[in-house]
């Protein structure tokens, strides 16, 4: 079977997706929790997690923020 999963994922929309504005507002809270427990963050902020699954730029920001807060502060 031909792999149409990428197209299918693109067309999927999640009603719980809070959008970039709300995700950006909460990203520091999500990141701080996700730094120690990613599952707990996704459960606590379900709408943000839904958004991060669909939005590459916000996911990239989360990864950057996680890298920043994980870096030792000398």
């Amino acid at each position: 079977m031909n792999d149409l999963s990428a197209l299918d994922r693109f067309l999927q929309t999640d009603p719980e997706d809070v959008g970039c504005g709300r995700a950006m507002e909460l990203l520091h809270l999500y990141a701080e929790l996700a730094a120690t427990n990613a599952e707990a963050a996704a459960e606590r902020y379900r709408g943000v997690a839904a958004h991060l699954r669909a939005c590459g730029p916000c996911k990239e920001d989360l990864e950057g923020l996680l890298a920043a807060i994980s870096e030792p502060r000398s």
């Binding site: 079977m1 031909n2 792999d3 149409l4 990428a6 197209l7 299918d8 693109f10 067309l11 999927q12 929309t13 999640d14 009603p15 719980e16 997706d17 809070v18 959008g19 970039c20 504005g21 709300r22 950006m24 507002e25 909460l26 990203l27 520091h28 809270l29 990141a31 701080e32 902020y45 379900r46 709408g47 943000v48 839904a50 669909a54 939005c55 590459g56 730029p57 916000c58 990239e60 920001d61 990864e63 950057g64 923020l65 890298a67 920043a68 807060i69 870096e71 502060r73």
Partner: protein
């Protein structure tokens, strides 16, 4: 995507008691004189370090290096510092102060990378190369007979179901591969608005394809 996402589960916590380090940041940055100046300098150093790390992390997308990359980091750190010091009263203490502050500089890096995209001379907006569409979704040319009809229907739905603005954003992001933050910069818009345009477009396209009986398209919204 709900019109009022604040009605969902993600309510902000009530203002929290600050940890000692965060309290010290807030106290010194809210003050005046030499102590505030010293805190501003220290915060800028932290922001610059994060900005440099972030532009390095994303440098593969930027296709720039050296002084230009460092200049971008300096701009991001300076703009983030301004935003943070002007919004210090909005820090509610639900996270460490530095986590909240780093968020600003990460956003500034994203925004500046979006604007930087248009400095590439090869970017063309007036081309709608629909032949790229299968490649964008990783479809195997050798199995074209299996997806050609669906892709043709998708193109038809883009042309007939989407508004002009939705179609424009779809073409830029999906066909031309323009990053969303670069579209934001070009339209002088914001990420939330452009994402919403694409969110609504994706939903319309899925509905249109499902209505025409394409079995590969899941008709239910993802949960």
């Amino acid at each position: 995507m709900p019109a009022d996402p604040t009605t969902l589960d993600d309510g902000l916590d009530t203002p929290s008691r600050l940890d000692p380090e965060s309290a010290e940041w807030v106290r010194s940055l809210s003050g005046s004189g030499a102590e505030r100046e010293a805190a501003v300098v220290r915060l800028h150093e932290l922001l610059l370090r994060v900005a440099r790390g972030e532009v390095r992390r994303r440098s593969g997308l930027l296709r720039v290096d050296g002084p230009e990359l460092d200049d971008l980091a300096h701009q991001a750190a300076a703009d983030a510092l301004l935003a943070i010091t002007s919004k210090i009263g909005q820090f509610r203490g639900e996270s460490r102060f530095t986590t909240w502050a780093y968020k600003f500089v990460i956003f500034e890096v994203s925004s500046k990378i979006g604007r930087h995209f248009w400095r590439r001379p090869q970017v063309k907006l007036d081309v709608e190369d629909w032949e790229r569409l299968p490649d964008r979704f990783g479809l195997d040319p050798a199995r074209e007979s299996e997806w050609r009809e669906l892709i043709t229907a998708l193109r038809r739905a883009v042309e007939t179901e989407l508004t002009d603005r939705q179609r424009q954003v779809f073409v830029e992001i999906v066909l031309n591969g323009v990053p969303l933050d670069a579209v934001v910069a070009r339209l002088d818009s914001n990420r939330n608005a452009v994402y919403k345009i694409m969110f609504d477009a994706r939903r319309k396209l899925r509905t249109a394809l499902a209505a025409h009986g394409y079995p590969h398209v899941n008709t239910s919204e993802q949960r």
